[in-house]
């Protein structure tokens, strides 16, 4: 069964450093998303991406964040200068916008980001 994969599973970085989180969405999916979940809190939407551009973003997704689809398979989230409060699980998700399944988003296992 196809699945979303994410690397690394755990990333430790120092405050102020740049990090890139990587995702490989399901191959025939066209919409890609990033969510985050701070420990013990709810899953929060960050950004959606379609046709090589951002389609929606939340207030959390400020200028420190960027997304890219550098090739036909990878989807990345970059945080330019990490802060302590960026420590969270980051989930990538993907969906295929066909009738009846537009809202079936499939999540990856997450990358745990720890900023020290």
């Amino acid at each position: 069964e196809p699945e979303v994969t994410q690397t690394p599973s755990h990333q430790v970085t120092q405050m102020g450093q740049e990090v890139i989180l990587r995702c490989v969405p399901i191959s025939n999916h066209l919409y890609f998303y990033w969510y985050r979940q701070i420990l013990g809190q709810k899953v929060e939407f960050l950004v959606s991406f379609y046709n090589n551009e951002i389609s929606e973003k939340s207030e959390i997704f400020d200028d420190q964040f960027s997304v890219e689809r550098p090739d036909g398979s990878n989807f990345t989230l970059k945080i330019r200068s990490t802060k302590l409060e960026d420590s969270a699980m980051y989930f990538c998700a993907s969906s295929v916008p066909t009738s009846g399944s537009s809202y079936e988003q499939y999540f990856g296992p997450g990358t745990r980001l720890t900023v020290t």
Binding site: K42, V43, S48, Y103, E104, F107
Partner: protein, 112 residues
């Protein structure tokens, strides 16, 4: 008022019990309703997806949506210890595109 609310639990039931998990929401524009299961330190796993009001059944799982009451439910029949997880509801409406608003989750523990 929070947009989507869930009883955080933990909810403990004996194996074989029928489990009822619920979410309430405030935004009447929500039209798409999803239930996800999340094991500890794992990604959310899609269980059920419904559009607008009504029921949907898939194996031991039944999802109900009551838009007039702004209330959705997930029922699990013949619960198993492997059902022990956090259950998240999520919802969306056209103004949000495909971006979901998640509830905080209900932690379920099924005791053997």
């Amino acid at each position: 008022q929070k947009e989507v609310e869930q009883d955080p639990g933990p909810l403990s039931v004996p194996e074989g019990a029928i489990v009822s998990l619920n979410c309430t929401y405030s935004n009447s524009a929500f039209q798409y309703f999803m239930w996800y299961r999340q094991y500890s330190r794992k990604g959310p796993e899609l269980l059920m997806y419904t559009y607008s009001s009504g029921n949907k059944e898939d194996g031991r799982f039944t999802a109900q949506v009551d838009k007039s009451s702004k209330y959705i439910s997930l029922f699990i029949r013949d619960s198993q210890p492997s059902d022990s997880a956090t259950y998240l509801c999520a919802m969306s409406h056209p103004l949000y595109g495909q971006n979901f608003v998640f509830g905080p989750g209900t932690r379920l523990s099924v005791l053997p």
